[in-house]
């Protein structure tokens, strides 16, 4: 059971990749996935609680993930 994690902009640059596939345990939340991402090399610039989207919608830290979910770690947005 996996989720896809997308990285963008400064986070993608810091971690050296724009996406990764991460194994998921039953009951894992957004917060659990973020913690695992933050333990990767280069993740020092990620805040403890970054903005996260699940399947293209902003999601809270306690959102429980399902297989195949697309989890996006969203750096501070700067459109306009």
């Amino acid at each position: 059971m996996n989720v896809t994690v997308l990285l963008f902009a400064s986070y993608a640059e810091s971690l050296g990749k724009t996406s990764l596939v991460m194994p998921l345990n039953t009951g894992d939340t957004v917060g659990d996935v973020v913690s695992r991402i933050r333990s990767l090399p280069g993740a020092g610039t990620l805040p403890v609680e970054p903005l996260v989207a699940v399947n293209e919608r902003y999601a809270k830290r306690d959102r429980v993930l399902a297989a195949g979910d697309e989890v996006a770690i969203i750096p501070p947005v700067a459109g306009g």
Binding site: S10, S19, A53, E70, A72, A78, G79
Partner: protein, 165 residues
């Protein structure tokens, strides 16, 4: 009502034409352009990337909200992605309304919400050769090759969809 990410120059006059109706008495156009300085540093250009699919959803949602709050469907929003030169338009919002007060308010609402919620990022290039992700701090002051996450995102989505099937 239409919102789009575009990879070509934004034509403000086209947007004005798109929302023109005789029922309206007021049109407000906002155009955001690449400035030559930011926080005292000389800028040479700007590179916009996005989480494309989500950005499109959020832009459409913001327009729906604005339409309900300010009672008009004559709204169009375009945000450009890619590499922009100084003075080029990165975003344009055109709103037409029977009354000017609500046209101004809708326009302002849309740009403020866009800046708050839509997953778009800009990499500012400076004339001294350095670059910086705006809003993210100076994570890498060396000039290096730029990732284009939205392209990979499309590939990833295809992979994900294949996995689900």
């Amino acid at each position: 009502m239409r919102s789009a990410l575009v990879d070509r120059p934004i034509d403000a006059a086209d947007l004005l034409g798109e929302i023109a109706r005789n029922a309206n008495g007021a049109t407000v156009l906002f155009v955001g352009t690449v400035r030559e300085t930011n926080q005292g540093r000389a800028v040479s250009g700007m590179e916009y990337t996005a989480y494309r699919s989500m950005a499109e959803c959020e832009m459409a949602e913001i327009l729906r909200e604005a339409s309900q709050r300010f009672a008009t469907k004559d709204i169009v929003l375009e945000h450009r992605l890619g590499t922009l030169r100084l003075g080029e338009a990165s975003v344009a919002i055109a709103v037409a309304h029977p009354h000017r007060g609500l046209a101004y308010e809708a326009s302002r609402y849309i740009i403020e919400q866009l800046k708050k919620r839509v997953p778009i990022w800009k990499l500012e290039h400076y004339i001294d050769g350095t670059r910086e992700w705006v809003g993210a701090g100076n994570v890498n002051p060396e000039p290096i090759a730029v990732h284009r996450p939205e392209v990979v995102t499309e590939e990833r989505r295809a992979v994900r969809k294949a996995e689900i099937r």
